[in-house]
Structure formats: C-alpha cells, structure tokens
Amino acid sequence: MCMPKLLLIVGLLWVTQAQAESKVPKLGKPAPKELIARWDYDVFPDGTGLPEGQGTVAQGKLVYQQACQSCHGVEGQGGSADELAGARHGLTDNPPDKTIGTYWPYATTLFDFTRRAMPLDRPGSLSNDQVYAVTAYLLYLNHIITADMQVSAKNLASIAMPNRDGFINVYAHEER
C-alpha cells in the first residue's frame, strides 16, 4: 500500500502534479564514463557487455580445481554448493535434474554470474580470461562444447544451450 506524499500535497494545497514534481531537487551528477565502465558487469544474452578475453576447456579445468572444486565438487558434482554438471536424467523426470546443461537457457548467464559472484569466498579474484576458461570447462562438463574448444567474447553468445526454449514468460502473458 503506497500513499504518495505528492498526492497529499495535491489534495491539500491544490497544486498540480507538475508543480509538485518541479519541487524535486534534481541532485544527480553526470556519471563519468569511466565509472560506468568499471561498474557495469551486465552481460546480456546477445553478448552485449562481454569483456575482451578468452579461455580454453583445459585452462578452465585448472581454474575450476583451484577455485571452485572445494564447494562444487569434482567435475561439478557432490559438493556442498549447487551441482554444476552431471545430470543423470531430464526435466520431466521425478525428481527432475536441473543443471547448467539441462536447465540454463543462456551461456552468457554462466559468464555473467561467475564473474560477478564466484568464487563465493573470493569474488572478483579471477581475471576475465580465467572466467572465460572456467565457463568453457563447465560447458564442456555439460556436454555443450567439446574438449578442444576455446570460449571468448566472440563466440560465447552464439553457443546454443539445450533448454533455450524451455521458458514461458508469464509476465508477458499477464493481462494488464
């Protein structure tokens, strides 16, 4: 339940909404490009926002063993944190197996999330190349790319995920 003070003012003093809005102090300062570039970590499904860099499956395996395995287990299974690979069955089984390979619709999400949030105990400690590499390794473990592949700013967005069309946009279907 929201009661905008603006409305009260309108009611009490009989000023218009426009006048009330002109009372906003407008204290925002122009944001330097440099600041935006440093802060913006968003990577979109079409690849917008991906930084320069690349990494191979083999490099990613090393990153994974050093920075991820303690929580996510050997080859993405059996750790204390979410399983990252190794689905034994599909989404219609009971119980369903939701992993990167069976469930995630976009490969870019894996890069985005790993770069911003992982490793959980030292977020921000990996270089972009290392994030590309571990992304490649996880895609490999999920049978999405082959062992000899490299992942980079150029090809990540075009890697097709098996569950790409698995989602129903409920908001778009709502009557408003």
Partner: protein, 421 residues
Amino acid sequence: MNEQQALTPLAAGGLLDRRAFLQRSLSFSVATLVSSEALATPENGREPWMEKPGAPFSNYGEPAAHERHVIRWTMGNDKALGNGVSWTPLQNLEGIFTPNGLHFERHHNGVPQIDPKQHKLLIHGLVNNSLVFTLEDLLRYPMHSCYCFLECGGNSNAAWHSEPIQTAVGYFHGMASCSEWTGIPLKLLLDEAQVKGRAKWLIVEGADASMMQVSIPLDKALDDCLLALYQNGERIRPENGYPMRLIVPGWEGVLNVKWVRRIHLAAQPVMARNETAKYTELLPSGKARQFTYVMEVKSLITQPSFGYKLPQPGIYQITGLAWSGRGKIAKVEVSADGGKTWLEAELQEPVLSKCFTRFRIPWQWQGQEAILQSRATDETGARQPAREHLLAARGQHGYFHYNAIVSWEISAQGEIKHVYA
C-alpha cells in the same frame, strides 16, 4: 446479537460469529480458569520489582529478557556462512508489522558492511542523463511510505514435499514480513535521468559480494517502486539493505534488491542467474514459468498453530495473516472441519493493498479432533487454492510461489500437527 446467539457455532467444528469477541460471556469463561497459585501475591501486595527503582534509560531498546526466545531461525551454508536464509517467527508475532530485527533474510553472500559516505547510486544505460547520487543527495528528495509485505519467491517451499513438515509456521512460511518502507519514488529519479523510449527494463544490482542483479519491467518501476531508505521509521538495517534498497510492492522478494547501487536501463532483460536458473518454476511438462513476479493471494493461521497445545476445551481466538500481491484482501474464511464448512473471519483495520492483513475469528473447541484452515480472497477475486489444486496445476517441482491453504490438525489432547488436508 444476544449472548446465546454469539456462542452458537455458525459452522461445523465450533467456529463462532466473528463479532462474538465483543460479547462479555467469552471473557468470563477464561476468568473462571485462573488457578489460585497464579494469584499468589506478597503480603504487602508489591512484587519484587515494585520495591526498588527500575532500570535506567537505554539508548536503544531491546525486547524483554523473557522474550529472547522470539528469534529468526537462521539456516546458512556451512562452507559459506553468509549464504542462506532466516525466517520471521510469525507464530510469535501479532498485528501486521514485523519488528526490524525479525524481518526475514535471504543473502547470497552475506551482509555487506557499507560505508554510507562511500556508497553511490548510478543510473545509466538507455537514459539521456547518466547520473550518480550520493546518500546525502537522496535524503533531500521528497519521500513517501509504502506499507507492504515482502515475500521471498521461495517462501513455503517445504510445502511442496510429499510429507508435511513438522515445524512452527514461521519456520517454513516466514520468508514473509511486512513493514512501512519510506523512501523516494523511483519514478522521480528515472525522470531526472530521462529514460529513452527504447528502454523497457531496469537491471538493478546490489553492492553485496555477489553483486546480486535482476531485471524489472520499466512499467512496474514507474508505477509504484520505491528506493527505500527507512524501514519502520528508522534507517534500514544492514541485513535489509542499508543504506538503500528497492521496494517492488507485491512482487517477489528477490526483485527488492538490497544495497542497491546500480540501475541499468535496457531494452531487454539481462537473463541473470536469479531469473533463469533460480526463481523460475519447472512444470511437469518440462517447461518452466519465468518472470512470475506477483506474489499471489495467501493466508495462514498463526495461532493456534504447530508447537502449541490447547490446554483444555474452551474458547480460542483463531488468528492469522493474509496478503496478496494484486491488491487488498477482500475476505478470509476459516474452517475448523478440514474445509467442509467455512465462516468469514473479521479483518482487522486497516486493510491495505499489498500489505499483511490480520484476521481473527473465535472458536469453541469441545475437545474433538479438528482441522483448522484459512482461505483468502483478494479484491481481484483471486482465491487461495487448495494444495491439491496447486499441485495439479504446477506439479511438485516448481519450488517457488507456493500459496496453497495451510492445515493444522488438532488432536483430542489439543496437540497441533501440520497436515495436508
């Protein structure tokens, strides 16, 4: 209504007219039960704490020493203590607002210790003016209050399990809390940045170690979202987003980004991990519901509930909470016979949109086995579903957005169990 009518059950199982509490007869029956032991008193009539000066003033008050058991239950990951949740103890609380120290928490990587002087808010992307605000700037803006519930999309997820969990109501439905949030309408800040026509989404990000981010439709942001600085009158607590968080009234908790520092206007959603891998609901068909923002109509009985024992037959107040992300609660019906008959409960004023609503109804328990349930309907006509209907529509592996009717079984001894009925 005379007293006799008031005490005549209006529904099977002993539910009484909701106005019956106003009748004197109800309080009488309680008075006769007080034992002589409970009435023991010192000879001079002064209890020990009445014979010496009391404690001095305190700079910030705390709950009574005898109420220290009223706590959030926390569940963190062993290897990552800041990853997990804590629940509001709904079973111990009354009224509609949650004390700040008992508001539920969901953190992905702990509570950041933010220096408010260093914290900034950036608005950028599809805007004419990319802007940065300091907290000092923001405190000068016109503010308003939202009285609204916040509920995690994963609240009540234990109820999807095949066996009913036996724990207090707050410890499986308590990822829901309600506060007065005060801050700046997001629209004012977006207007200042001048959003471009192509922008349809906001990507909102927090300043926590996981840089938690989600996509929010621009329509909603312009409609009623708030950049909140205050919670129940005081500055937001660290675990609730100090120094600023987003409030997205009626929509799932994860969108109410805490410690918010960046708002990115975009033409498309970012498809973050927390709107794809998580906070989506897998259906039996193998497809998953995504962007299921609204927290649908829901209610539950907080008293009597699991963990209590009815001491003896007599009159009890059944009370609980109802809420809907679509608007006001229109009515709450209560059943004492597992849903065969229903009677409307009293809704305590104020009944506010997208806010907790407290309901109450008197009940005469005659020592029989009973199943207590509540069922809410909101002003759009949406009614809380029976569990079997929810499961028929969604299957058992959706995990998020559970809003079915909650059932408490009372044994002949007055013990209370959680059941699926």
